[in-house]
Symmetry: C2
Subunit: 380 residues, 2 copies
């Protein structure tokens, strides 16, 4: 293998695949990045067995030469050092040559590096899951669906299935669900052209989807998703992102979402968020995060919290709309703030079925999102 390559392009690809490098792996070959050079370009691959990322650099793009291939070939290079040194090389061009025993020579400007490479034959082969059902959605929508549900996953490794986000697709509706048993987030979107595709109980680690979010480009391009038996593949332009589907059956969450409400309040998201944030500051000192919300006789609501040591916070907020009965309820303000932070809609409706029943939050926009917070007794 012998090439000359532009530093920025190589570096960008390295940044993409490096998200799949585990610092804790005990398998030496997985501490490396695999480079494969053909006359079409350079493919970089990294894998931590749960996720694998592949990034392709073509020899030419928009009439600019990116890679000059003198000799195809492949090698696995130590990821941590490779990632850091490429960024810091002095010239915008880099020469690489793999010699006897996978010894790799890298030069750029007056800098010469010898790297101990590993045999690419030892690197795990990525699954071939092309040919399975494929759906497409815009990158921004996928990022949003992840952001608006991932915060509700469980961080407890005792229930691994709840550390994932559940995906269902039926009748053209793609739906994400996440819950840690104290709160639940759902977000759905209509996907055109997927009316014939159907899957359920596809659960992907929330952590993995957050990593995926980081490499989805800002340009709002379409992302292809291939769902196979135990793997999902995301195709982003020149990046392939493979992740495994979590084992197990996701619990049925449909029954914890009430459908009849006693009280419905419509408010401005930002004002409610700021108000609860102030009450949260005090409730946090009590370690409980309990904040109280009550409707006022003269209209509007009161948000309050107190701490025996520090004092009290109390404030009134106007309502845009009020339906149903007066209400007094306590909840975990941290959970409420987590929801308010990811809602893009300027207004939302909070719905209640009673003091000891779940609280529902619904943004007043097209996101088809719905959030449930269990009342205080269950979150302690």
């Amino acid at each position: 293998m012998k090439i000359s390559i532009l530093k920025n392009e190589l570096n960008e690809s390295i940044q993409h695949v490096s998200k799949a490098i585990s610092s804790r792996t005990t398998i030496p070959i997985l501490t490396g990045i695999k480079l494969e050079v053909t006359h079409q370009g350079v493919t970089l691959t990294a894998s931590d067995t749960d996720i694998s990322i592949q990034s392709f650099i073509p020899t030419e793009d928009e009439n600019q030469q990116i890679v000059q291939v003198d000799r195809p070939g492949s090698v696995v290079l130590p990821a941590k050092f490779f990632v850091e040194i490429i960024k810091k090389l002095p010239s915008k061009e880099i020469q690489m040559e793999v010699k006897e025993g996978f010894h790799t020579f890298i030069s750029s400007g007056a800098t010469e590096i010898q790297m101990v490479g590993l045999d690419p034959e030892e690197f795990p082969v990525l699954p071939n899951i092309e040919g399975n059902e494929t759906i497409s959605l815009p990158g921004d929508l996928l990022k949003n669906m992840i952001k608006q549900t991932a915060f509700s996953i469980s961080t407890q490794e005792t229930t691994p299935i709840l550390t994932g986000i559940l995906w269902n697709l039926a009748e053209g509706e793609f739906k994400f669900i996440a819950t840690d048993r104290h709160r639940l987030a759902t977000r759905a979107a209509k996907l055109e052209g997927t009316e014939d595709v159907k899957f359920s109980n596809v659960v992907i680690a929330g952590k993995t989807l957050n990593e995926l979010s980081k490499i989805i480009p800002d340009q709002n391009m379409l992302i292809d998703i291939v769902v196979a038996d135990n793997q999902v593949l995301f195709k982003l332009d020149r990046v392939l992102f493979y992740t495994r589907i979590l084992d197990g059956v996701y619990p049925d969450t449909s029954r914890i979402i009430p459908t009849v409400y006693k009280t419905e309040l419509t408010l401005e998201t930002k004002k409610l968020s700021e108000s609860i944030d102030r009450a949260y500051l005090l409730s946090r000192e009590e370690k409980t995060n309990i904040v109280r919300l009550q409707t006022l006789e003269q209209g509007g609501i009161e948000i309050s919290s107190s701490s025996s040591e520090l004092g009290k916070v109390r404030e009134e907020l106007d309502l845009i709309d009020f339906k149903g009965e007066p209400l007094k309820i306590s909840f975990n303000s941290k959970y409420m703030l987590d929801v308010l932070k990811v809602i893009d809609s300027e207004q939302l409706t909070i719905a209640f079925t009673g003091m000891m029943s779940p609280i529902i939050l619904k943004p007043l926009d097209e996101s088809q999102a719905l959030y449930v917070i269990l009342p205080y007794r269950t979150t302690n």
Copy 2:
């Protein structure tokens, strides 16, 4: 005490004094911020016994009313909650009133807060050290002198005196010295009008001076420094910053700075820094940080490092000037990078007296700075 005050001004003062609040104190009154209101304005004070910071908010500034004083008085408020809630209040004006038993009522917009206040009589009285010797220097210069020496202090609590920066003033020259026994940094500046002032063995915690740096405003104003027996006071516009002088005698460091050199190299700071940074990346993996520097027969120098597991880095650098004998030396590249990071000068001279002797770095500017790195055998 009853006032109405602008949020931004109160918040700025809180940010200044909050640097003196220790989260680890066991003395309840020191977890608070003291507010004292007179008809002149509001004074905020915080103290962790090592440092005390006082910030004054005048009732008027540039014809704008900042504070309206309805009733003078004072109170101590719980710092952590006070610091965070003030920032987040909804209106730009804040009303505060202290009632019976130091119960404090704060309101802003529709937000009402009750805070449990403490008796200000319990708050420690700051030392009166006015009347001692005072020197003045520009804020930028003081910040620079701190930045260019503080990185060399010891972090080992076993030699407390070396966690400080030594100050000497004699014959109009103000000098900072810091050492952790492996390296040394000195920085001096001529101060006009201080020819009659003299002090030595004034040692101030490096950590404290770094905190001070953060509140020195960007406008390059003069800072007055009052040096008393066991305290130093910094006067910055409306902020007073008190710190204690560390106990003990700072070791004599004059003998470890060589004055005759065998080899002197002059280079571009940025190029040397980038080159050593690349070699450091590899040396770091070996935990030793050892990088080699050697002069080349054909001119220039070679910077290199190697790791048995990962490989080698090697590069050549041009010299602007070369005096003396050829040379080959190993050093701790982390220490060298720390120096190169704080040097503002575009060029520097590195001077050597031999393989096992200290390395000297001198920026080619007016900073009168000098850095010493002991060679490798002593840093292990």
